[in-house]
Symmetry: C2
DNA sequence: CGCATCCTTGAAGATGCTCAATTTCCGTGG
DNA sequence: CCACGGAAATTGAGCATCTTCAAGGATGCG
Protein backbone atom coordinates (compact mmCIF):
# COMPACT_ATOMS: atom_id res chain seq x y z
CA UNK A 1 0.00 0.00 0.00
CA UNK A 2 2.77 2.43 -0.87
CA UNK A 3 1.57 5.96 -1.04
CA UNK A 4 4.10 6.21 -3.86
CA UNK A 5 1.93 4.08 -6.07
CA UNK A 6 -1.15 5.96 -5.07
CA UNK A 7 0.41 9.25 -6.01
CA UNK A 8 1.43 8.02 -9.41
CA UNK A 9 -2.04 6.74 -10.12
CA UNK A 10 -3.49 9.99 -8.86
CA UNK A 11 -1.41 12.11 -11.13
CA UNK A 12 -2.21 9.89 -14.03
CA UNK A 13 -5.92 10.39 -13.55
CA UNK A 14 -5.44 14.02 -12.62
CA UNK A 15 -6.79 12.92 -9.29
CA UNK A 16 -5.51 13.58 -5.83
CA UNK A 17 -7.51 11.90 -3.13
CA UNK A 18 -8.70 14.23 -0.39
CA UNK A 19 -6.55 12.31 2.07
CA UNK A 20 -3.46 13.19 0.07
CA UNK A 21 -4.44 16.76 -0.73
CA UNK A 22 -2.45 19.44 1.00
CA UNK A 23 -5.59 21.51 1.36
CA UNK A 24 -7.52 19.03 3.47
CA UNK A 25 -7.03 21.07 6.61
CA UNK A 26 -8.82 24.03 5.05
CA UNK A 27 -11.34 22.39 2.78
CA UNK A 28 -14.40 20.25 3.24
CA UNK A 29 -12.49 17.23 4.62
CA UNK A 30 -11.40 19.05 7.78
CA UNK A 31 -12.24 17.04 10.86
CA UNK A 32 -13.27 13.89 9.05
CA UNK A 33 -12.03 10.42 9.93
CA UNK A 34 -10.04 8.80 7.17
CA UNK A 35 -12.61 6.07 6.45
CA UNK A 36 -15.25 8.74 6.06
CA UNK A 37 -12.90 10.65 3.79
CA UNK A 38 -13.02 7.80 1.33
CA UNK A 39 -16.77 8.17 1.04
CA UNK A 40 -16.42 11.86 0.36
CA UNK A 41 -13.70 11.13 -2.17
CA UNK A 42 -16.02 8.77 -3.95
CA UNK A 43 -18.55 11.46 -4.84
CA UNK A 44 -16.02 14.07 -5.91
CA UNK A 45 -15.18 14.49 -9.55
CA UNK A 46 -11.90 16.05 -10.58
CA UNK A 47 -12.39 18.00 -13.75
CA UNK A 48 -9.93 19.06 -16.42
CA UNK A 49 -8.29 22.37 -15.58
CA UNK A 50 -9.90 25.60 -16.71
CA UNK A 51 -7.89 27.96 -18.86
CA UNK A 52 -7.59 31.60 -17.92
CA UNK A 53 -10.86 33.49 -18.51
CA UNK A 54 -12.82 30.26 -18.87
CA UNK A 55 -16.04 30.01 -16.89
CA UNK A 56 -16.79 27.35 -14.30
CA UNK A 57 -20.46 28.27 -14.43
CA UNK A 58 -22.59 31.19 -15.52
CA UNK A 59 -25.21 32.97 -13.53
CA UNK A 60 -28.69 31.72 -14.32
CA UNK A 61 -27.51 28.16 -14.84
CA UNK A 62 -28.98 25.36 -12.81
CA UNK A 63 -27.08 24.54 -9.66
CA UNK A 64 -26.09 20.97 -9.13
CA UNK A 65 -22.65 21.03 -7.62
CA UNK A 66 -20.40 23.10 -5.45
CA UNK A 67 -16.72 23.36 -6.32
CA UNK A 68 -13.52 23.42 -4.33
CA UNK A 69 -10.60 25.26 -5.88
CA UNK A 70 -7.63 22.89 -6.10
CA UNK A 71 -5.10 25.16 -7.76
CA UNK A 72 -5.20 28.56 -9.43
CA UNK A 73 -7.90 31.07 -8.61
CA UNK A 74 -11.39 32.20 -9.55
CA UNK A 75 -13.49 35.31 -9.36
CA UNK A 76 -17.24 35.26 -8.85
CA UNK A 77 -19.33 38.13 -10.12
CA UNK A 78 -22.88 39.30 -10.62
CA UNK A 79 -24.05 40.95 -13.82
CA UNK A 80 -26.50 43.81 -13.63
CA UNK A 81 -29.25 44.31 -16.15
CA UNK A 82 -27.10 46.94 -17.83
CA UNK A 83 -24.26 44.50 -18.20
CA UNK A 84 -21.94 45.93 -15.55
CA UNK A 85 -20.25 43.29 -13.50
CA UNK A 86 -19.77 43.30 -9.77
CA UNK A 87 -17.08 41.04 -8.43
CA UNK A 88 -18.09 39.49 -5.13
CA UNK A 89 -15.17 37.26 -4.35
CA UNK A 90 -11.77 35.93 -5.29
CA UNK A 91 -11.27 32.28 -4.49
CA UNK A 92 -8.00 30.57 -3.66
CA UNK A 93 -7.17 26.88 -3.35
CA UNK A 94 -9.15 25.14 -0.63
CA UNK A 95 -12.08 27.53 -0.88
CA UNK A 96 -15.58 26.54 -1.97
CA UNK A 97 -17.63 28.31 -4.60
CA UNK A 98 -21.30 27.93 -5.41
CA UNK A 99 -22.66 27.91 -1.85
CA UNK A 100 -24.84 30.90 -2.72
CA UNK A 101 -26.79 28.79 -5.19
CA UNK A 102 -28.13 26.28 -2.68
CA UNK A 103 -31.05 28.48 -1.73
CA UNK A 104 -32.70 28.71 -5.16
CA UNK A 105 -31.11 25.90 -7.15
CA UNK A 106 -29.87 28.50 -9.63
CA UNK A 107 -26.49 30.22 -9.73
CA UNK A 108 -26.86 33.90 -8.82
CA UNK A 109 -23.25 34.56 -9.86
CA UNK A 110 -20.83 33.56 -12.56
CA UNK A 111 -17.46 32.01 -11.74
CA UNK A 112 -14.49 32.61 -13.97
CA UNK A 113 -10.86 31.44 -13.81
CA UNK A 114 -8.26 34.16 -13.31
CA UNK A 115 -5.47 31.82 -14.39
CA UNK A 116 -5.14 28.13 -15.17
CA UNK A 117 -7.28 26.63 -12.46
CA UNK A 118 -8.39 23.18 -11.43
CA UNK A 119 -11.36 22.41 -9.23
CA UNK A 120 -13.04 19.49 -7.53
CA UNK A 121 -16.70 19.13 -8.40
CA UNK A 122 -18.93 18.01 -5.55
CA UNK A 123 -22.44 17.07 -6.71
CA UNK A 124 -24.76 18.68 -4.23
CA UNK A 125 -27.41 15.99 -4.00
CA UNK A 126 -24.77 13.44 -3.11
CA UNK A 127 -23.12 15.81 -0.68
CA UNK A 128 -26.44 16.35 1.01
CA UNK A 129 -27.20 12.67 1.44
CA UNK A 130 -23.67 11.94 2.55
CA UNK A 131 -23.70 14.64 5.17
CA UNK A 132 -26.76 13.22 6.91
CA UNK A 133 -24.65 10.10 7.31
CA UNK A 134 -21.42 11.79 8.32
CA UNK A 135 -22.02 14.36 11.05
CA UNK A 136 -18.45 15.61 10.77
CA UNK A 137 -19.06 16.41 7.11
CA UNK A 138 -22.28 18.22 7.91
CA UNK A 139 -20.51 20.19 10.58
CA UNK A 140 -17.68 21.25 8.30
CA UNK A 141 -20.10 22.25 5.55
CA UNK A 142 -22.00 24.45 7.98
CA UNK A 143 -18.72 25.87 9.26
CA UNK A 144 -17.57 26.79 5.79
CA UNK A 145 -20.88 28.44 4.95
CA UNK A 146 -20.76 30.35 8.20
CA UNK A 147 -17.23 31.41 7.40
CA UNK A 148 -18.34 32.75 4.05
CA UNK A 149 -21.01 34.81 5.78
CA UNK A 150 -18.32 36.21 8.09
CA UNK A 151 -16.08 37.07 5.17
CA UNK A 152 -18.90 38.86 3.41
CA UNK A 153 -19.61 40.80 6.58
CA UNK A 154 -16.01 41.96 6.69
CA UNK A 155 -16.19 43.04 3.08
CA UNK A 156 -19.43 44.91 3.75
CA UNK A 157 -17.79 46.68 6.67
CA UNK A 158 -14.85 47.68 4.50
CA UNK A 159 -17.15 48.98 1.77
CA UNK A 160 -19.34 50.86 4.19
CA UNK A 161 -16.80 52.67 6.28
CA UNK A 162 -13.27 52.44 4.93
CA UNK A 163 -11.33 54.85 2.73
CA UNK A 164 -9.64 53.77 -0.48
CA UNK A 165 -6.31 53.25 1.32
CA UNK A 166 -7.90 51.22 4.05
CA UNK A 167 -9.80 49.04 1.62
CA UNK A 168 -6.77 48.19 -0.44
CA UNK A 169 -4.67 47.55 2.66
CA UNK A 170 -7.37 45.29 4.08
CA UNK A 171 -7.59 43.48 0.76
CA UNK A 172 -3.86 42.82 0.68
CA UNK A 173 -3.92 41.64 4.28
CA UNK A 174 -6.75 39.27 3.47
CA UNK A 175 -4.76 37.80 0.58
CA UNK A 176 -1.63 37.61 2.69
CA UNK A 177 -3.45 35.74 5.45
CA UNK A 178 -4.98 33.31 3.05
CA UNK A 179 -1.68 32.65 1.31
CA UNK A 180 -0.04 31.95 4.64
CA UNK A 181 -2.76 29.45 5.55
CA UNK A 182 -2.04 27.69 2.28
CA UNK A 183 1.68 27.45 2.87
CA UNK A 184 2.67 30.23 0.49
CA UNK A 185 4.65 33.29 1.42
CA UNK A 186 2.45 35.85 3.16
CA UNK A 187 4.77 38.66 2.11
CA UNK A 188 5.56 37.92 -1.52
CA UNK A 189 2.84 36.87 -3.89
CA UNK A 190 1.36 37.49 -7.29
CA UNK A 191 -1.99 39.08 -7.92
CA UNK A 192 -3.90 36.88 -10.33
CA UNK A 193 -6.51 39.59 -10.84
CA UNK A 194 -6.18 42.85 -12.74
CA UNK A 195 -6.26 46.35 -11.22
CA UNK A 196 -9.71 46.67 -12.71
CA UNK A 197 -10.87 43.54 -10.89
CA UNK A 198 -9.48 44.78 -7.60
CA UNK A 199 -11.12 48.16 -8.11
CA UNK A 200 -14.45 46.61 -8.99
CA UNK A 201 -14.34 44.33 -5.96
CA UNK A 202 -13.42 47.19 -3.62
CA UNK A 203 -15.99 49.60 -5.01
CA UNK A 204 -13.34 52.00 -6.34
CA UNK A 205 -12.25 53.33 -9.71
CA UNK A 206 -9.43 51.56 -11.44
CA UNK A 207 -7.36 54.75 -11.35
CA UNK A 208 -7.82 55.08 -7.62
CA UNK A 209 -6.46 51.59 -7.02
CA UNK A 210 -3.48 52.40 -9.17
CA UNK A 211 -2.85 55.63 -7.28
CA UNK A 212 -3.19 54.00 -3.89
CA UNK A 213 -0.74 51.29 -4.90
CA UNK A 214 1.74 53.99 -5.82
CA UNK A 215 1.14 55.82 -2.58
CA UNK A 216 1.62 52.70 -0.46
CA UNK A 217 4.72 51.96 -2.49
CA UNK A 218 6.16 55.45 -1.95
CA UNK A 219 5.36 55.24 1.75
CA UNK A 220 7.55 52.14 1.91
CA UNK A 221 4.72 49.81 2.89
CA UNK A 222 5.12 47.53 -0.05
CA UNK A 223 6.91 46.92 -3.27
CA UNK A 224 4.54 46.48 -6.17
CA UNK A 225 5.39 45.94 -9.78
CA UNK A 226 2.62 44.93 -12.07
CA UNK A 227 1.21 41.67 -10.67
CA UNK A 228 3.94 41.07 -8.15
CA UNK A 229 3.55 42.33 -4.60
CA UNK A 230 5.88 42.29 -1.66
CA UNK A 231 4.60 43.47 1.72
CA UNK A 232 7.41 45.29 3.51
CA UNK A 233 5.78 46.48 6.69
CA UNK A 234 2.91 44.32 7.86
CA UNK A 235 2.38 46.27 11.06
CA UNK A 236 2.01 49.57 9.33
CA UNK A 237 -0.21 47.96 6.72
CA UNK A 238 -2.49 46.70 9.46
CA UNK A 239 -2.61 50.20 10.86
CA UNK A 240 -3.57 51.50 7.42
CA UNK A 241 -6.31 48.91 7.15
CA UNK A 242 -8.02 50.35 10.20
CA UNK A 243 -9.09 47.03 11.59
CA UNK A 244 -6.87 44.01 11.90
CA UNK A 245 -8.37 41.23 9.84
CA UNK A 246 -6.98 38.42 11.95
CA UNK A 247 -10.46 37.09 12.47
CA UNK A 248 -11.32 36.35 16.07
CA UNK A 249 -8.52 38.30 17.68
CA UNK A 250 -10.24 41.65 18.01
CA UNK A 251 -13.56 40.09 18.84
CA UNK A 252 -12.47 39.30 22.36
CA UNK A 253 -12.48 42.84 23.66
CA UNK A 254 -16.16 43.38 23.20
CA UNK A 255 -17.27 46.81 24.29
CA UNK A 256 -20.75 48.01 23.49
CA UNK A 257 -22.89 51.02 23.79
CA UNK A 258 -26.20 49.50 24.77
CA UNK B 1 -57.49 17.61 20.29
CA UNK B 2 -58.83 21.04 19.60
CA UNK B 3 -56.28 23.41 18.23
CA UNK B 4 -58.20 25.97 20.30
CA UNK B 5 -56.91 24.45 23.50
CA UNK B 6 -53.44 24.24 22.06
CA UNK B 7 -53.48 27.89 21.20
CA UNK B 8 -54.61 28.91 24.64
CA UNK B 9 -51.93 26.82 26.25
CA UNK B 10 -49.41 28.24 23.86
CA UNK B 11 -50.27 31.80 24.67
CA UNK B 12 -50.22 31.06 28.33
CA UNK B 13 -46.68 29.76 28.12
CA UNK B 14 -45.73 32.44 25.63
CA UNK B 15 -45.24 29.51 23.33
CA UNK B 16 -46.47 29.04 19.82
CA UNK B 17 -45.58 25.67 18.36
CA UNK B 18 -43.83 25.84 15.01
CA UNK B 19 -46.80 24.09 13.45
CA UNK B 20 -49.06 26.94 14.55
CA UNK B 21 -46.64 29.73 13.76
CA UNK B 22 -47.55 31.91 10.83
CA UNK B 23 -43.90 32.15 9.92
CA UNK B 24 -43.33 28.47 9.33
CA UNK B 25 -43.28 28.91 5.58
CA UNK B 26 -40.30 31.26 5.85
CA UNK B 27 -38.44 29.92 8.82
CA UNK B 28 -36.56 26.77 9.67
CA UNK B 29 -39.67 24.52 9.58
CA UNK B 30 -40.23 25.02 5.86
CA UNK B 31 -40.59 21.71 4.08
CA UNK B 32 -40.72 19.57 7.19
CA UNK B 33 -43.34 16.89 7.82
CA UNK B 34 -45.53 17.61 10.81
CA UNK B 35 -44.24 14.71 12.90
CA UNK B 36 -40.70 15.96 12.32
CA UNK B 37 -41.84 19.43 13.27
CA UNK B 38 -42.65 18.19 16.73
CA UNK B 39 -39.07 17.09 17.20
CA UNK B 40 -37.83 20.49 16.15
CA UNK B 41 -40.34 22.12 18.47
CA UNK B 42 -38.99 20.06 21.31
CA UNK B 43 -35.53 21.59 21.16
CA UNK B 44 -36.68 25.18 20.71
CA UNK B 45 -36.89 27.49 23.69
CA UNK B 46 -39.16 30.50 23.59
CA UNK B 47 -37.61 33.24 25.60
CA UNK B 48 -39.17 36.23 27.30
CA UNK B 49 -39.41 39.19 24.92
CA UNK B 50 -36.54 41.63 24.66
CA UNK B 51 -37.19 45.29 25.34
CA UNK B 52 -36.11 47.92 22.88
CA UNK B 53 -32.30 48.38 22.90
CA UNK B 54 -31.79 45.15 24.83
CA UNK B 55 -29.16 42.78 23.50
CA UNK B 56 -29.81 39.21 22.44
CA UNK B 57 -26.08 38.52 22.50
CA UNK B 58 -22.87 40.49 22.41
CA UNK B 59 -19.96 39.99 20.10
CA UNK B 60 -17.23 37.95 21.70
CA UNK B 61 -19.69 35.78 23.61
CA UNK B 62 -19.66 32.05 23.19
CA UNK B 63 -22.04 30.78 20.55
CA UNK B 64 -24.42 28.07 21.56
CA UNK B 65 -27.69 28.85 19.84
CA UNK B 66 -29.10 30.47 16.76
CA UNK B 67 -32.25 32.53 17.05
CA UNK B 68 -35.35 33.00 14.93
CA UNK B 69 -37.11 36.33 15.22
CA UNK B 70 -40.74 35.72 16.16
CA UNK B 71 -41.96 39.30 16.39
CA UNK B 72 -40.33 42.71 16.42
CA UNK B 73 -36.94 43.27 14.84
CA UNK B 74 -33.22 43.19 15.53
CA UNK B 75 -30.09 44.75 14.20
CA UNK B 76 -26.74 42.98 14.13
CA UNK B 77 -23.55 44.99 14.21
CA UNK B 78 -19.80 44.73 14.51
CA UNK B 79 -17.76 46.99 16.75
CA UNK B 80 -14.38 48.19 15.56
CA UNK B 81 -11.45 48.62 17.89
CA UNK B 82 -12.17 52.34 18.00
CA UNK B 83 -15.70 51.68 19.12
CA UNK B 84 -17.50 52.60 15.89
CA UNK B 85 -20.31 50.24 15.06
CA UNK B 86 -21.08 48.82 11.66
CA UNK B 87 -24.58 47.48 11.20
CA UNK B 88 -24.62 44.38 9.02
CA UNK B 89 -28.25 43.45 9.02
CA UNK B 90 -31.79 44.16 10.12
CA UNK B 91 -33.81 41.09 10.96
CA UNK B 92 -37.55 40.66 10.65
CA UNK B 93 -39.84 37.90 11.91
CA UNK B 94 -39.00 34.51 10.44
CA UNK B 95 -35.34 35.36 9.90
CA UNK B 96 -32.46 33.63 11.67
CA UNK B 97 -29.61 35.39 13.42
CA UNK B 98 -26.36 33.95 14.68
CA UNK B 99 -25.48 31.82 11.65
CA UNK B 100 -22.21 33.73 11.32
CA UNK B 101 -21.04 32.34 14.66
CA UNK B 102 -21.09 28.67 13.66
CA UNK B 103 -17.61 28.86 12.12
CA UNK B 104 -15.70 29.88 15.24
CA UNK B 105 -18.07 29.15 18.10
CA UNK B 106 -17.91 32.82 19.05
CA UNK B 107 -20.29 35.60 18.05
CA UNK B 108 -18.55 37.99 15.65
CA UNK B 109 -21.45 40.46 15.94
CA UNK B 110 -23.80 41.80 18.56
CA UNK B 111 -27.57 41.54 18.16
CA UNK B 112 -29.82 44.22 19.60
CA UNK B 113 -33.59 44.65 19.62
CA UNK B 114 -34.91 47.68 17.71
CA UNK B 115 -38.29 47.41 19.43
CA UNK B 116 -39.99 44.91 21.72
CA UNK B 117 -38.91 41.65 20.17
CA UNK B 118 -39.40 37.99 20.88
CA UNK B 119 -37.24 35.21 19.54
CA UNK B 120 -37.05 31.43 19.47
CA UNK B 121 -33.78 30.08 20.77
CA UNK B 122 -32.48 27.03 18.95
CA UNK B 123 -29.56 25.37 20.73
CA UNK B 124 -27.05 24.64 18.03
CA UNK B 125 -25.73 21.31 19.29
CA UNK B 126 -29.26 19.95 19.38
CA UNK B 127 -30.05 21.43 15.99
CA UNK B 128 -26.96 19.79 14.57
CA UNK B 129 -27.80 16.34 15.88
CA UNK B 130 -31.42 16.69 14.87
CA UNK B 131 -30.57 17.68 11.34
CA UNK B 132 -28.52 14.57 10.71
CA UNK B 133 -31.73 12.71 11.53
CA UNK B 134 -34.09 14.93 9.56
CA UNK B 135 -32.79 15.55 6.04
CA UNK B 136 -35.50 18.12 5.38
CA UNK B 137 -34.27 20.12 8.35
CA UNK B 138 -30.68 19.92 7.18
CA UNK B 139 -31.75 21.04 3.76
CA UNK B 140 -33.67 24.03 5.03
CA UNK B 141 -30.81 25.07 7.29
CA UNK B 142 -28.43 24.99 4.33
CA UNK B 143 -30.96 26.90 2.25
CA UNK B 144 -31.30 29.64 4.82
CA UNK B 145 -27.55 30.00 5.17
CA UNK B 146 -27.20 30.14 1.41
CA UNK B 147 -29.91 32.77 1.33
CA UNK B 148 -28.03 34.87 3.82
CA UNK B 149 -24.93 34.69 1.64
CA UNK B 150 -27.04 35.86 -1.30
CA UNK B 151 -28.43 38.76 0.71
CA UNK B 152 -24.99 39.82 1.77
CA UNK B 153 -23.86 39.70 -1.85
CA UNK B 154 -26.67 42.05 -2.81
CA UNK B 155 -25.71 44.43 -0.05
CA UNK B 156 -22.09 44.33 -1.15
CA UNK B 157 -23.14 45.11 -4.70
CA UNK B 158 -25.18 48.06 -3.48
CA UNK B 159 -22.31 49.37 -1.38
CA UNK B 160 -19.78 48.94 -4.16
CA UNK B 161 -21.59 50.51 -7.07
CA UNK B 162 -24.76 52.34 -6.11
CA UNK B 163 -25.31 56.01 -5.37
CA UNK B 164 -26.97 57.25 -2.21
CA UNK B 165 -30.39 57.40 -3.92
CA UNK B 166 -30.03 53.91 -5.31
CA UNK B 167 -28.95 52.46 -1.99
CA UNK B 168 -31.86 53.90 -0.08
CA UNK B 169 -34.33 52.87 -2.78
CA UNK B 170 -32.93 49.34 -2.79
CA UNK B 171 -33.13 49.26 0.98
CA UNK B 172 -36.80 50.27 0.98
CA UNK B 173 -37.58 47.73 -1.70
CA UNK B 174 -35.89 45.03 0.33
CA UNK B 175 -37.99 45.92 3.35
CA UNK B 176 -41.13 46.10 1.25
CA UNK B 177 -40.51 42.66 -0.22
CA UNK B 178 -39.85 41.14 3.15
CA UNK B 179 -42.95 42.71 4.66
CA UNK B 180 -45.06 41.35 1.83
CA UNK B 181 -43.69 37.84 2.39
CA UNK B 182 -44.73 38.15 6.02
CA UNK B 183 -48.27 39.20 5.23
CA UNK B 184 -47.80 42.88 6.03
CA UNK B 185 -48.46 45.73 3.67
CA UNK B 186 -45.60 46.15 1.21
CA UNK B 187 -46.46 49.80 0.69
CA UNK B 188 -47.12 51.11 4.18
CA UNK B 189 -44.85 50.22 7.02
CA UNK B 190 -42.90 51.60 9.93
CA UNK B 191 -39.16 51.80 10.13
CA UNK B 192 -38.07 50.31 13.41
CA UNK B 193 -34.54 51.63 12.96
CA UNK B 194 -33.34 55.22 13.18
CA UNK B 195 -31.99 57.36 10.32
CA UNK B 196 -28.59 56.86 11.84
CA UNK B 197 -28.98 53.08 11.69
CA UNK B 198 -30.06 53.20 8.06
CA UNK B 199 -27.15 55.48 7.20
CA UNK B 200 -24.67 53.28 9.00
CA UNK B 201 -26.00 50.16 7.27
CA UNK B 202 -25.90 51.80 3.85
CA UNK B 203 -22.44 53.30 4.30
CA UNK B 204 -23.73 56.89 4.17
CA UNK B 205 -23.82 59.88 6.49
CA UNK B 206 -26.96 60.35 8.54
CA UNK B 207 -27.54 63.69 6.84
CA UNK B 208 -27.35 62.14 3.41
CA UNK B 209 -30.06 59.64 4.27
CA UNK B 210 -32.25 62.44 5.55
CA UNK B 211 -31.71 64.47 2.39
CA UNK B 212 -32.39 61.52 0.10
CA UNK B 213 -35.62 60.78 1.96
CA UNK B 214 -36.70 64.36 1.37
CA UNK B 215 -35.73 64.16 -2.29
CA UNK B 216 -37.65 60.92 -2.85
CA UNK B 217 -40.58 62.48 -1.02
CA UNK B 218 -40.52 65.63 -3.17
CA UNK B 219 -40.25 63.52 -6.32
CA UNK B 220 -43.51 61.85 -5.30
CA UNK B 221 -42.00 58.40 -4.90
CA UNK B 222 -42.98 58.01 -1.29
CA UNK B 223 -44.53 59.65 1.69
CA UNK B 224 -42.26 59.63 4.69
CA UNK B 225 -42.90 61.12 8.07
CA UNK B 226 -40.55 60.19 10.82
CA UNK B 227 -40.74 56.39 11.13
CA UNK B 228 -43.72 55.91 8.88
CA UNK B 229 -43.20 55.20 5.19
CA UNK B 230 -45.64 54.82 2.33
CA UNK B 231 -44.33 53.76 -1.06
CA UNK B 232 -46.32 55.57 -3.73
CA UNK B 233 -44.67 54.48 -6.95
CA UNK B 234 -43.05 51.08 -6.76
CA UNK B 235 -42.08 51.03 -10.42
CA UNK B 236 -40.24 54.29 -10.27
CA UNK B 237 -38.64 53.23 -7.01
CA UNK B 238 -37.35 50.10 -8.70
CA UNK B 239 -35.95 52.26 -11.46
CA UNK B 240 -34.23 54.42 -8.85
CA UNK B 241 -32.74 51.36 -7.22
CA UNK B 242 -30.90 50.47 -10.40
CA UNK B 243 -31.40 46.76 -10.06
CA UNK B 244 -34.68 45.09 -9.23
CA UNK B 245 -34.20 43.19 -6.02
CA UNK B 246 -36.84 40.57 -6.76
CA UNK B 247 -34.25 37.86 -6.32
CA UNK B 248 -34.14 35.37 -9.12
CA UNK B 249 -36.08 37.33 -11.69
CA UNK B 250 -33.21 39.20 -13.26
CA UNK B 251 -30.92 36.22 -12.98
CA UNK B 252 -32.62 34.48 -15.86
CA UNK B 253 -31.27 36.69 -18.59
CA UNK B 254 -27.66 35.82 -18.10
CA UNK B 255 -25.38 37.59 -20.49
CA UNK B 256 -21.65 37.41 -20.04
CA UNK B 257 -18.48 38.78 -21.46
CA UNK B 258 -16.20 35.80 -21.37
C1' DC C 1 -43.82 72.02 30.35
C1' DG C 2 -39.04 71.26 29.54
C1' DC C 3 -35.29 68.59 28.29
C1' DA C 4 -33.14 65.19 25.39
C1' DT C 5 -33.06 62.80 21.32
C1' DC C 6 -33.82 62.48 16.66
C1' DC C 7 -34.30 64.56 12.43
C1' DT C 8 -33.85 68.25 9.00
C1' DT C 9 -31.50 71.80 6.42
C1' DG C 10 -27.59 74.73 4.93
C1' DA C 11 -22.77 75.79 3.48
C1' DA C 12 -18.05 74.58 2.88
C1' DG C 13 -14.75 71.15 2.02
C1' DA C 14 -12.65 66.53 0.85
C1' DT C 15 -12.40 62.15 -1.14
C1' DG C 16 -12.70 59.71 -5.05
C1' DC C 17 -14.52 59.73 -10.06
C1' DT C 18 -14.33 60.89 -14.95
C1' DC C 19 -11.97 62.15 -18.88
C1' DA C 20 -7.77 62.14 -21.29
C1' DA C 21 -2.99 61.42 -22.46
C1' DT C 22 1.09 58.50 -21.93
C1' DT C 23 3.77 54.63 -20.73
C1' DT C 24 4.62 49.84 -19.95
C1' DC C 25 3.94 45.28 -20.83
C1' DC C 26 3.05 41.07 -23.27
C1' DG C 27 1.74 38.09 -26.93
C1' DT C 28 1.72 37.64 -31.87
C1' DG C 29 3.59 37.49 -36.16
C1' DG C 30 6.96 38.75 -39.31
C1' DC D 1 14.84 37.64 -32.37
C1' DC D 2 12.83 41.83 -32.96
C1' DA D 3 8.95 44.70 -34.15
C1' DC D 4 4.37 45.74 -33.71
C1' DG D 5 -0.24 46.29 -31.79
C1' DG D 6 -3.43 45.96 -28.22
C1' DA D 7 -4.36 45.67 -23.50
C1' DA D 8 -3.25 47.05 -18.89
C1' DA D 9 -1.47 50.37 -15.87
C1' DT D 10 0.01 54.94 -14.58
C1' DT D 11 -0.45 59.84 -14.09
C1' DG D 12 -2.65 64.43 -14.32
C1' DA D 13 -6.51 67.93 -14.07
C1' DG D 14 -11.14 69.24 -13.28
C1' DC D 15 -15.36 67.99 -11.26
C1' DA D 16 -19.30 65.64 -8.66
C1' DT D 17 -21.03 63.38 -4.88
C1' DC D 18 -21.07 62.86 -0.41
C1' DT D 19 -19.17 64.23 4.17
C1' DT D 20 -18.38 67.25 7.86
C1' DC D 21 -19.52 70.99 10.65
C1' DA D 22 -23.08 73.80 12.39
C1' DA D 23 -27.53 75.41 13.59
C1' DG D 24 -32.37 75.02 13.99
C1' DG D 25 -36.84 72.42 14.41
C1' DA D 26 -39.80 68.58 15.72
C1' DT D 27 -41.13 64.84 18.72
C1' DG D 28 -41.76 62.29 22.74
C1' DC D 29 -41.13 61.22 27.47
C1' DG D 30 -40.42 62.52 32.16
Amino acid sequence: MSSETKTVVSLKRIKVACGDCSLNTLCLPLGMASDDLGRLDAIIERKRPLARAEHLYHCGERFDAIYAVRSGSLKTYATSEHGEEQILGFHLPGELVGLDAIADGVHPLSAQALETTSVCEIPFDKLESLSVQLPSLQRQLLRLMSHEIQDDQKTMTALAQKSAEERLAAFLISLSTRFRQRGFSPTRFNLSMSRGDIANYLGLALETVSRVFTRLHNDGLLRVERKSVELLDQDRLYAYAGTPCTTASQLQNSRHSS
